[in-house]
Assembly symmetry: C2
Homo-oligomer: 191 residues x 2
């Protein structure tokens, strides 16, 4: 399971992964860590990928800017997630940073609502554009398509380093934040 | 320079680094990337370190949860920053996630206000506690002390992987967000 509450249970674990019934109880330092991470406010994104491994998407908050030379971000994903292998096969992805109106979509892709992968993209809100052709959310605040240059394993997770090829910002949108296990809206203008 | 606006110019570059006068102009894809990252809302932290390399602190937003096994976060830092070598020598740090009242302190440590390093810690708001003894901000929302397990170079930056040893949360504090080049306050309760 992911360290971040938004990312929890966003996929059906592969059969080799521990299930809720067989998973060992969390140690005190793991519970303490998860509580601390729930208090680290973060943007909410839907990470999508399409290619020979298939199409999938997950809600995640573990996205971070790395460098502008070359333009690179990172995305953390649980290696126990069935989607980890899909990202590896496709080698490309899109980070769709959610605007403040998209809380429901965040839940839809979170796994908490148990929506099967094949039904997640059912709504007509997705575009494929540019040379990478990844699923891009028309109404996203920020759209970042890129190639996964490296998977770095750290504990239970992989850090995917993604070199960006297509960058789009909607300068009129406000933002969605996950903090203290709740969604919050943050306007683009000062209060 | 950092990819993220909060992190820009937070240190005196070492003499080997390009100065403003000699630094090449940014390419269009770098400008586009920085604008996109300014629209990725993020928590604001002061990253501190103390040890044989000296004491220093910088304001940063490139902090991300990685895994709870073992409890690990990452922090990105520009290798051109004078502080990069201090982090390397000390091998430990504290991420002090700022609460909503601490916007001024974020500016104080950002470098934008040109406060020399020796004056940044002048106020009596710092504690040293626990076995790591790093500078901990008494009023922080979240306090994360840990050991830097690895520096991974990516482009102009290093990603520091930090295994946490001391984790503290102030359950009464609200949070501070940087979005669209402005600070915003996000309350812990739903609106």
């Amino acid at each position: 399971m992911s360290a971040n509450a938004v990312q929890q249970e966003h996929s059906t674990p592969p059969t080799s992964a521990p299930t809720a019934a067989t998973r060992p109880a969390l140690a005190p330092e793991q519970l303490e860590f998860r509580n601390a991470m729930a208090h680290l406010p973060a943007a909410v994104s839907i990470i999508t990928t399409d290619g020979e491994g298939g199409r999938c998407g997950i809600t995640a908050s573990a996205v971070c800017s790395v460098t502008d030379t070359p333009p690179t971000i990172l995305v953390c994903i649980n290696r126990g997630s069935a989607m980890h292998e899909v990202f590896r096969k496709n080698g490309r992805l899109c980070v769709n940073v959610l605007s403040d109106e998209l809380e429901q979509l965040a839940m839809h892709f979170s796994g908490a609502t148990k929506v099967p992968m094949e039904e997640r993209f059912a709504w007509d809100i997705w575009e494929e554009q540019g040379e990478l052709g990844q699923p891009v959310l028309a109404d996203a605040l920020v759209k970042l398509q890129g190639r996964i240059r490296e998977f770095k394993e750290v504990g239970t997770h992989s850090v995917m380093f993604v070199e960006l090829a297509e960058v789009k910002v909607n300068e009129k949108k406000d933002s969605l934040i996950y903090f203290n296990r709740l969604f919050h809206k943050v306007k683009r203008t000062a209060l």
